[in-house]
Symmetry: D2
Subunit: 270 residues, 4 copies
């Protein structure tokens, strides 16, 4: 299936690790819709993952970049602009890592050095990316930036740990920078708040299976899959959504506005 | 316990039916805090309920009023002002009835005549009350109006039926009239979105027990009781909250900002 | 420009009056994207408007229907299904009329008979439409329903009168029926909260010019136009947004998440 | 005026600098309402400010603490518990500093070292405070924690710079830790989102006068003052609000739910 919705567009995809990654699927769909891509991830993620497969499939170069390094980001954008022979039309930010979670630290016993790292990687990285593009004037008029987030930014999911706070920060940066980039060059910046999905990142969360089942039962349409998310991001990168900015868009089968379902009530009565 | 927080204040309490009623408990606490009251309810509710007990206990007259009748409301305010010998300082609106629910009509098969009645009684009644006071200039400067609502106005609880829509309408009227009355006379108008409680009204809802248990497990502090609600309303009627207006205030033990709890996840894994 | 995003899809468009109408532009774009349409409006609106032009241009039949009449709606769906030779894939609900505004009644002096009519036409009509489709099983699996709304449902715009309350009710019905139709047949129901536009409906609002300028200055991307809105609705009717439901989607150039702009501050300092 | 609402309660007040401070006024009102207090601030703020005056007036010891130092916080809580001869009933967190703003850095050219410091002082400090109390079990059952915030956490105010992002993070930490402390010991944690006030902190913001006038015109009740804020915080520290937690409570004269006012429209038409 292709509508050529992104024909002629050039985009940078952050965060494709392997076939389970949301970013992987999004890159595939963008490519099918006619976009040219640059793929990027942290050097260590590139070694662990299988990105070469995606690179071949989508005919996209892979440019490593540590999102906490301004030098790396500068090089990424320079090389991308050179590769594309022009400005960039869209960016996907699919980056998140809870260092405390990895190290088994509960929310009430955070290591603040880890927290700082989590915020830097998962949230401030979006500011760094946008600011690098801003300084180089690397984005085309009306370009579209999407960052992936999760509803833990609004409501507490206890096992999501300090990543909830990181996502709140990410959504605030989306609004703040979205304002300035909108005024300057009609660039739009939004977050997509996606259903939980069985990705490598997601599976690190304690009690993830119980939780994903709960989300499935609490969503009138069920959980949105990686493929669904990719389709939705394609619309946000296209020219059909030019006036949508500074929004947090729930893509979750209705979870966010469902207080309870009959399926959950039945389970509670057991 | 009394702080004399409402000493010298005069208020009208809509909706006290029996000891389980939120309005009943609120009237008691307002009285304890030094307020003088007028109690009111629909003529039929007065016959069914036990309001005389509350009337004696709080030394308050009972004035019947059908909230869908402008004549009744006019008389209520006239008699209240006469009784108090002056203007009114606060109003509690605790009125709601889902006619479709009573008649066993599912949300997808509403009787629209019933729906109109539900909206009229449960939501537009707040407009009628405020407008009657507005036209008679019956509220004192800085008076406080509180209407009770439920989170179904924001998220779907399937068995709550058309009452969810009525509560959304109620909250909108709160904001709309709150704006005008704030500009005119510094009157503040807010809704309190209360935990589910075992009242006569609540117990009419299908699957209410399963639901109230779910809400209890989803609230870090548990469900708020009638007594808790009464205490909270006292603060909103007092002079300590003069700049709070047009808000929907969740009084729910944290339910509204909790995505899931460990207690619910455990139940889902059964 | 056409991506064939709606190729093979069949839709019903409510509310196209003339070339300024949002619904008019949406119908044009849906047609360009390959959809077959049925156009409908109230008999009186059909006489006043210029819908025949749109009907010819998009090769769509016009079927009159008063949205407050279940008989009319039933006939509309029966005729549409017959015309299409099958089920319906999408519906646009662009219907709103403030009777009090027309009659010059201020929000504090509403005629409640008029209010009831406003709610019936502008909000409950969505329930009637969905319920008619539900009973006839006229919507295809995964069909998409969009109703147009305005941010006055969340925040007070004083001259918007009781239409603010109607839009709150509309958005609640969107969630409530969206839940049931999602569970039953994966139908998604959303509202699009659009920038103010110079339509025949909009121009009836007092102080509309001052207001539209304010909105323009408060939106980092400026106000979204009819064309922009049409493009956005196309994405919501397409298969790329199958997991978005029960949402209120702001389509407003960033107005909704902007607290103030430098342009407005400058004006305030004059 | 005193209701003895906080009689017998013990609280720690962070952030009273001088008579313009919100925390100053809040400390005065808490003292009037019968609370015993410990005052604290960063050592440098203590030198610059006039806290001794407040200390004498409220008969409260001053204990210096850098909120980014776990050792300082531990000592603060130890000394406070010793001073009070028992656990703590409430905490006010009124701490915020935008390092980039002070250094004249625009949001698009943040120094990330400064940003990290801003987040640490203005947001993560709340986690440190709560975690210190948690580890020492220093809070009494049902204790109340309030942090002051601003609506820039929800909507963009361009000159508010990275402090907007810090406030979003603060509000998320409020929810996250509020969940855990609620489950453990019925402690409630909330933010109060206050009108802009002419404090020493506020006056550092560029274009503050134009902005404060805008806020005044956009609030049906006008901007809330320091005194108003103090009164509201007293209710949140009292036993009357025991079931309110994880909320962001707007205390702003209606600003947050007002889309526009006639006063602003008139100014726009000039």
């Amino acid at each position: 299936m292709s509508y050529n919705l992104l024909k002629g567009k050039k985009g940078i995809i952050f965060g494709a690790l392997n076939e389970q990654s949301l970013a992987w699927k999004i890159a595939q769909r963008c490519s099918e819709e006619g976009a040219q891509l640059v793929l990027t991830n942290a050097p260590i993620a590139l070694r662990m993952g299988e990105i070469n497969k995606l690179s071949e499939e989508t005919k996209s170069p892979v440019i490593p970049a540590d999102v906490t390094s301004m030098d790396d980001l500068k090089k990424l954008f320079e090389d991308s602009v050179k590769h594309f022979g022009g400005g960039i039309d869209f960016i996907l930010h699919s980056i998140g890592m809870s260092v405390n979670m990895r190290k088994g630290k509960h929310y009430t016993e955070l290591d603040y050095g880890f927290t700082q790292k989590t915020l830097d990687i998962s949230a401030i990285s979006l500011h760094r990316v946008l600011r690098t593009a801003w300084e180089m004037d690397a984005l085309n008029e009306g370009a579209s930036v999407v960052a992936l987030t999760y509803i833990a930014a609004q409501r507490v999911f206890p096992d999501y740990n300090e990543m909830a706070d990181a996502k709140s920060l990410l959504e605030s940066i989306t609004r703040s920078f979205g304002y300035h980039y909108g005024v300057k060059k009609k660039v739009r910046v939004n977050t997509v708040s996606q259903s939980p999905t069985r990705t490598t990142a997601g599976s690190g969360v304690k009690g993830f299976d119980g939780f994903i089942n709960y989300a499935e039962k609490m969503s009138p349409l069920g959980n949105a899959s990686q493929e669904d998310c990719a389709n939705y991001c394609v619309t946000l990168f296209s020219d059909l959504t030019k006036m949508v900015t500074m929004q947090n868009l729930f893509h979750d089968g209705g979870f966010s506005f469902t207080g309870v379902t009959n399926a959950v009530i039945e389970q509670m009565e057991k």
